[in-house]
């Protein structure tokens, strides 16, 4: 790792510097497009009191769910916790602090964090519990609430391919929150299926330009499917 080359070869290097009490922004939607090896490493490191910003929190026993089980997470900022019994249980018991955030607001908060926008107005959540305590303002005859952006000490991201300079592409709906997370970490670590040489990715179709990325590691992925739903062959 020198100059623009961001490839690291061990998970220890990939998450060096991660410490108790830090905020992590994690890409992924459900179990789709999650940095499996980086999550496993966080568990291994035993880091505690984490604030995790992620649309979901995995499922029991997989994805971010393993950090819940291990009591490493103090606070989640998420839009949906319905797939995860332990999440719901820790939430209802008050053991886990949860900031439920509408999915689009969450995406925009992360994007804004990476883009140097400290706050923005949105109609989402106005008149609901989400809007309580937030500034309300009218624009063009409609009511909006002020939402602040979010950034992380670390961002953990799952890409499909990356070149050594940290340019990343995602595959299909495994993209989701990943490119946003990549912009919003003080240190952004991307775990990919394949590392390629600079020049191999199409210049017009890099999803995450390397400027956002600090470390790249090649992982192996189980890619567990949350709801395998199929139609019969003839349909």
């Amino acid at each position: 790792m020198a100059g623009l080359d961001k490839v690291v070869t061990s998970y220890e290097q990939a998450l060096a510097g991660l410490a108790d009490g830090m905020t992590i922004i994690a890409g992924g939607f459900g179990l789709c497009g999650i940095p499996e090896g980086l999550i496993a490493q966080i568990k291994k490191m035993g880091i505690r009191d984490l604030t995790v910003v992620s649309n979901n929190c995995g499922v029991d026993g997989f994805g971010l769910g393993i950090l819940l089980e291990n009591r490493q997470i103090k606070k989640m900022i998420s839009s949906y916790v319905g797939e995860n019994e332990l999440f719901e249980k820790q939430l209802l018991s008050g053991e886990l602090e949860v900031e439920l955030t509408p999915q689009g607001t969450l995406a925009e908060k992360i994007r804004a964090g990476g883009a140097g926008i400290p706050a923005f107005f949105t109609a989402t959540g106005y008149g609901t519990p989400i809007g309580e305590g937030k500034e309300v303002r009218e624009f063009h005859g409609r009511q909006y609430i002020l939402e602040e952006s979010v950034t992380g000490d670390f961002a953990i991201v799952k890409g499909w391919k990356a070149d050594r300079y940290g340019n990343v592409i995602y595959r299909h709906t495994a993209r989701n929150f990943n490119p946003l997370a990549a912009t919003a970490g003080k240190i952004t670590v991307v775990e990919v299926e394949e590392i390629v040489e600079p020049g191999e990715l199409d210049i017009d179709n890099v999803h995450t330009p390397g400027i956002y990325v600090d470390r790249i590691i090649q992982g192996t992925f189980e890619k567990r499917i949350e709801r395998r739903t199929v139609r019969s062959q003839e349909a």
């Binding site: 949906y80 319905g82 209802l92 689009g104 994007r111 709906t173 946003l180």
Partner: protein, 217 residues
Amino acid sequence: MLTREQIAMRVAREMRDGYYVNLGIGIPTLVANYIPKGMQVMLQSENGLLGMGPFPTEEEVDADMINAGKQTVTAITGASIFDSAQSFAMIRGGHVDLTVLGAFEVDVMGNIASWMVPGKLVKGMGGAMDLVAGAENIVVTMTHASKTGESKLLPKCTLPLTGAGCIKKVVTDLAYVEIRDGKFWLIERAPGVSVDEIVKLTAGEMVVPEVVPEMSF
């Protein structure tokens, strides 16, 4: 009384050629099966897919291709994939032509509650708050009343809201109802269901026109 499929069929009549449509989880998902023949619509899935197709065959299953309900799906020809910020830019920016979603309650002011039962159920709102805030044209699907006979069409929602003043159309198992001027308007009734039955199971003020046609399928 309409079956789940008939509710979906009735909702499908709100489709127009060329529409971009977001279908929520549950009954709304079924609407995709009843898009009128010859009509082209694109389904948006808020996890980042425009042009959602049918479920895959066993051979087509791809862990990297799911919908907002985390089900494996396919993409139709001409589909596109993007990140979550772009997906909600579409939704919040009002680019989706029709949004269909379920609810626990709606009320005469067009309020909707669909994401939380305090102390009992906290699954989170997912994309629902953005969907109802961003869409002009929303259809809510729900049973008209609970199993114990309590109306879900209320003078005022009792559960935490998903959105305020945003719902104008509701398709229940008993009726198609519109919301305007702080009232429910009974527009169509399910086959074999009387106006009286509907009114009895509607807690919020309901306007009943002289003629309330029966749906036919």
